[in-house]
């Protein structure tokens, strides 16, 4: 299974994602350049975190117009797995591949901390390694992570099981007190209705390497790999 990490100017977390796929998962992985429309033969695409184009204008606002994103949309339309992490999530909402948008944190400050998340739906290609209700530790690091979508959209997403992760306390309780950035319904990660495009503000790659004493996030990539391998066997 070949993985692609999409590289924009300012994609600070590209190397981290590459490292996890390469060294932790032991899978083939390549960088995809923002100016190229050819994505090669990748089976899954990671849009990493960082500050693409320096967050100029609005996080993700310029990156989503890059040539590579046209191909990523095409790739997703054909059922390819795409995950956007942090700035990657912002790029996916800007490009309307995912609903809603990410506003500035309620506290108006950048927040970097090891955050506990509740797995809300473990029945997707991105979360099957978990059980629904699992509590995992996944670092966050963002200034614009306050997820917002119109009430109707939220209701629809909730009904469809499109919420994958919610911010919670270590006991798995979800409340305003455990919501670091003011996201609607404590939403930390979502999936599109076709079940192949995910955006999440927390960084699963940062909790995938046991040497850093955090490895709960690895399940996201393990789930994706399992899905890709199953699909490969079918075909």
């Amino acid at each position: 299974m070949k993985w692609g990490v999409l590289l924009f100017p300012g994609s600070n977390c590209a190397d981290d994602c590459f490292h996890v796929i390469d060294k932790v998962l032991g899978q083939p992985v390549t960088y995809l350049w923002h100016k190229d429309t050819d994505l090669g033969d990748v089976d899954a695409i990671i849009i990493p975190g960082g500050f693409s184009y320096g967050d100029h204008l609005r996080p993700g606002a310029i990156a989503h117009l890059s040539p590579a994103m046209t191909s990523v949309k095409e790739f997703a339309r054909n059922g390819g797995l795409v995950i956007g992490i942090c700035n990657g999530f912002q790029i996916l909402t800007e490009s309307r591949m995912l609903p809603g948008s990410l506003l500035q944190n309620q506290g108006l400050k950048f927040l970097c901390m090891d955050q506990t998340l509740k797995v809300d739906n473990a029945d997707t290609p991105f979360t099957s390694a978990y059980e629904s209700g699992d509590v995992i530790v996944c670092p966050i690091a963002h200034n614009e992570g306050n997820y917002y979508a119109a009430p109707d959209t939220i209701a629809e997403m909730e009904a469809n099981g499109q919420i994958l992760f919610r911010y919670c306390n270590p006991d798995g309780e979800v409340s305003n007190a455990t919501n670091p950035n003011g996201s609607v319904n404590s939403i930390a990660g979502i999936i599109n209705k076709y079940g192949n495009v995910v955006g999440m503000m927390p960084h699963p790659e940062r909790s995938s390497d046991k040497d850093l004493l955090l490895s709960d996030g690895k399940g996201v990539f393990v789930s994706m790999l399992k899905h890709l391998e199953a699909k490969h066997t079918e075909s």
Binding site: G10, F110, R206, L212
Partner: protein, 744 residues
């Protein structure tokens, strides 16, 4: 008429910041009077900031060599060996004056500048730290604005550029109210074969400027940093640079891609005094000349005068000296990252520094003369306050009636309390190497793919150096090394940030000289050579006077295996707590005296450097042998604070009983040096104690970790502290948020 002309000329060089004798000297070097361009070159290069005119004679005290030292002072940053043909490079730099006037941009560009120093060595920047000093945070208005803006600036730049901010320190005293200190440190990693130097070799090779456009921002920043901050130079606002971390990120990627090829012979960051300083230094090292045509420099403003182009401190620019004929290839790589790389001059063989404008010479001086800034050995005189503060005796203060309450107050002291409010604004995990995050004794950053890591610390104690500059400075080096050792790292080397007042004042010069001697002594004893640093003098304002003498120590250490990584928090109830080192009746210079009794007085605790070195070796040995479960330096606030910190972070209680004949407050809060608090499991207790006896280290089993969430301290069978873990945690964890919110 002649008289009037002479008076006007006098004004010209004085206005440029040069003294009459300096002007005389430069005309002698040149054999003629300088024109305005040439005068500007000397004014910048002979400032304290570029020329170290007051500090250079004192550098002879430093130990600068050692078995792990690959590059000592004199390059963009020093380099140390971390085995396996790998090295790390690190340096710190001050950005005090810009941060006092424009705190957001001042702090941000401080981070950017030090990252470029590391990049210029050929290294990938893997970690940033910073040491910040402000007035008291409870004070609303200007001080709190400075704190918020500086931290915001560091966060914005560091987060966007993708280098994790892994630690440092934030300290508070009224001494910094008018003149905050912002010192940024960066650490880079590379293979030994990848080291680059700031040298302009090869006559005919091209000088290329890469990165940002050149504008009028940061004009004369070097000389601005070399005088007092007062109302008058508040007008020097033009000397503040503006940072663009996105540009810096691209610069890092593009430079490292170019360095991989065989095109570049020398690299220099454009910091203080911009194009001028970077090119003079590279030419001087090679013994060559250079010529630069200001018309070729890509500019963002029109009608810039030649000297403005030469000394502009526009950010995110680097100077590359590239092999003749490879210029296009270099440019191609920069173009890929949407950057330019432009030839602005050549290396010449005549030893002259020549400035051209459209091919016409507008200034020409010998390279060596620009590097030959005159140095000053000034009069030193013991500061008057020492006669008074040295008289302090413990009996001058009473032991507080409620020691539990005193402990809570110290845990909530801004110097001691949790700085999570600060660190959560910094991305400290990007690059995925942060093994121990901010808030511990040292930050630990792993080397990816290897079973080893680097310990990084930044420490200072202005109050100590104010009360005893020599021993105070030595104590900071000792404390830094202790912080390394308790984290499982073998101390390697330091970079020093010398933050002082106006050295032309004899009492300030005394502080400077004595501090340098003190820290040199400690570096020798602990085998941590100085591999570079920075001097920031003239930190004083008319309203608030001089800052505390504040040498800041940035230290790196080597963690030889990730198994050795050690943290201060208690791990398991039932573990035994061991105190290493003797506790003396020492209250002088303590955080306790300052915060509880409002006294900045007394002498700094004694420091036996031989014992310090021996103790540190022992602690490192037992950690490496896997005998220890937690290790913590006993520092600010003494034993009780160290104990409470290990409990709070481990979410466990502890009971300790000591047997020491000192005052209750000395026992709990005194800052006797060379002490450590460890926890070990019962299985390893004998091994730890036996080895201590063998090495001649005083070690006492003082108690155990408990799970009943109380912290108790007894001495000579008298209960001194009996307090709930929750109360301590609440005081420690919430104090800073409260301070930043109080409306007084």
């Amino acid at each position: 008429m002649t008289e009037k002309k002479a008076e006007m000329e006098e004004k010209i060089w004085r206005k440029a910041g040069l003294t009459d004798s300096e002007y005389e000297l430069l005309t002698k070097h040149m054999g003629r009077e300088p024109n305005t361009v040439e005068l500007a070159l000397y004014a910048q290069m002979w400032s304290e900031h570029c020329g170290y005119t007051h500090t250079r004679p004192l550098f002879k005290h430093f130990l600068t060599t050692g078995t792990r030292i690959v590059q000592g002072p004199g390059e963009n940053a020093g380099i140390v060996d971390i085995d396996d043909d790998e090295v790390i490079t690190f340096k710190l730099e001050s950005h005090n004056h810009p941060s006092a006037i424009a705190p957001f941009q001042g702090a941000a560009t401080g981070v950017g500048g030090i990252i470029r120093d590391i990049l210029a060595m050929g290294a990938y920047p893997i970690a940033s730290l910073n040491s910040l000093h402000f007035g008291h945070p409870g004070e609303r208005g200007h001080t709190r604005w400075l704190i918020s803006e500086v931290i915001h600036g560091i966060g914005e730049y560091g987060n966007c550029v993708g280098v994790p901010t892994v630690g440092g320190e934030v300290r508070f005293s009224d001494a910094y109210k008018g003149n905050p200190l912002v010192n940024a440190m960066c650490v880079g990693y590379m293979k030994k074969s990848e080291i680059k130097k700031a040298i302009a070799t090869g006559v005919g090779n091209s000088l290329m400027i890469v990165g940002n456009l050149t504008g009028r921002d940061g004009m004369g920043g070097a000389s601005f940093a070399s005088k007092d901050l007062d109302e008058e130079n508040d007008e020097d606002r033009g000397a503040i640079q503006v940072g663009d971390p996105f540009m810096e990120k691209l610069l890092i990627e593009a430079c490292l891609e170019v360095f991989d090829k065989d095109y570049v012979v020398g690299v220099q960051d454009m910091g203080a005094a911009g194009i001028l300083s970077s090119s003079v230094e590279t030419a001087s090292k090679a013994g060559n000349g250079v010529e630069i045509d200001v018309a070729l420099v890509p500019k963002r403003e029109e009608a810039m005068r030649p000297e403005e182009v030469m000394i502009s401190e526009s950010q995110e620019r680097m100077l590359l000296i590239v092999k003749k004929g490879t210029e296009d290839k270099v440019n191609q790589i920069f173009h890929k990252w949407d950057l330019h790389a432009v030839v602005i001059g050549q290396v010449t063989d005549d030893g002259m520094y020549r400035v051209l404008e459209d091919g016409k010479t507008v200034g020409e001086v010998p390279v060596w003369s620009l590097m030959d800034a005159p140095t000053y050995i000034l009069d030193a005189e013991e500061p008057a306050h020492l006669a008074e503060t040295m008289k302090f005796k413990n009996e001058d203060v009473e032991v507080p009636a409620d020691l539990n309450d005193t402990l809570l107050k110290l845990l909530a002291s801004p110097d001691i309390c949790s700085k999570t409010w600060v660190y959560r604004q910094y991305d400290h995990r990007v690059q995925m190497n942060t093994v121990v995050k901010p808030g511990s004794d040292a930050a630990i950053v792993r080397i990816k793919g290897r079973d080893k890591a680097v310990g990084i610390t930044m420490d200072s104690n202005g109050r100590y150096c104010y009360l005893n500059p020599k021993r105070g400075a030595a104590s900071i080096v000792a404390e830094s090394a202790r912080n390394q050792v308790v984290s499982g790292a073998e101390p390697i080397a330091i970079t020093d940030g010398l933050n002082f007042g106006n050295p032309e004042r004899p009492d300030v010069y005394y502080q400077l000289e004595q501090s340098i001697i003190g820290l040199s002594d400690a570096c020798r004893a602990l085998n941590t050579p100085v591999i570079g640093g920075n001097a920031s003098l003239y930190n004083q304002t008319p309203e608030f006077g001089s800052i505390y003498p504040t040498p800041i120590i940035g230290m790196t250490g080597l963690v030889k295996s990730l198994d050795h990584v050690m943290t201060p928090e208690f791990k398991d109830a039932g573990d035994f707590i061991i105190m290493l080192g003797e506790t003396k009746d020492e209250l002088g210079a303590s955080e306790y005296l300052d915060r509880i009794h409002g006294l900045v007085s007394g002498d700094v605790p004694e420091l036996d450097l031989e014992l310090e070195a021996k103790s540190q070796q022992y602690v490192l040995e037992i950690i490496r042998k896997g005998l220890v479960k937690s290790a913590h330096d006993v520092g600010d606030g003494g034993i009780s604070v160290a104990l409470a910190e290990s409990c709070i972070q481990g979410k466990l209680g502890a009971d300790i009983s000591l047997d020491v004949d000192v005052r209750d407050d000395s026992l709990l809060f005194g800052e006797t040096q060379t002490r450590f608090m460890l926890s070990v499991s019962e299985d390893n207790l004998d091994a730890v104690i036996d080895l201590a006896a063998e090495k001649g280290i005083e070690a006492a089993v003082v108690g155990r970790v408990n799970d009943n969430t109380r912290i108790t301290v007894n001495n000579n069978n008298k209960k001194l502290i009996d307090i709930s873990l929750d109360a301590c945690a609440d005081a420690f964890n919430t104090a800073f948020d409260k301070l930043m919110k109080t409306s007084n």
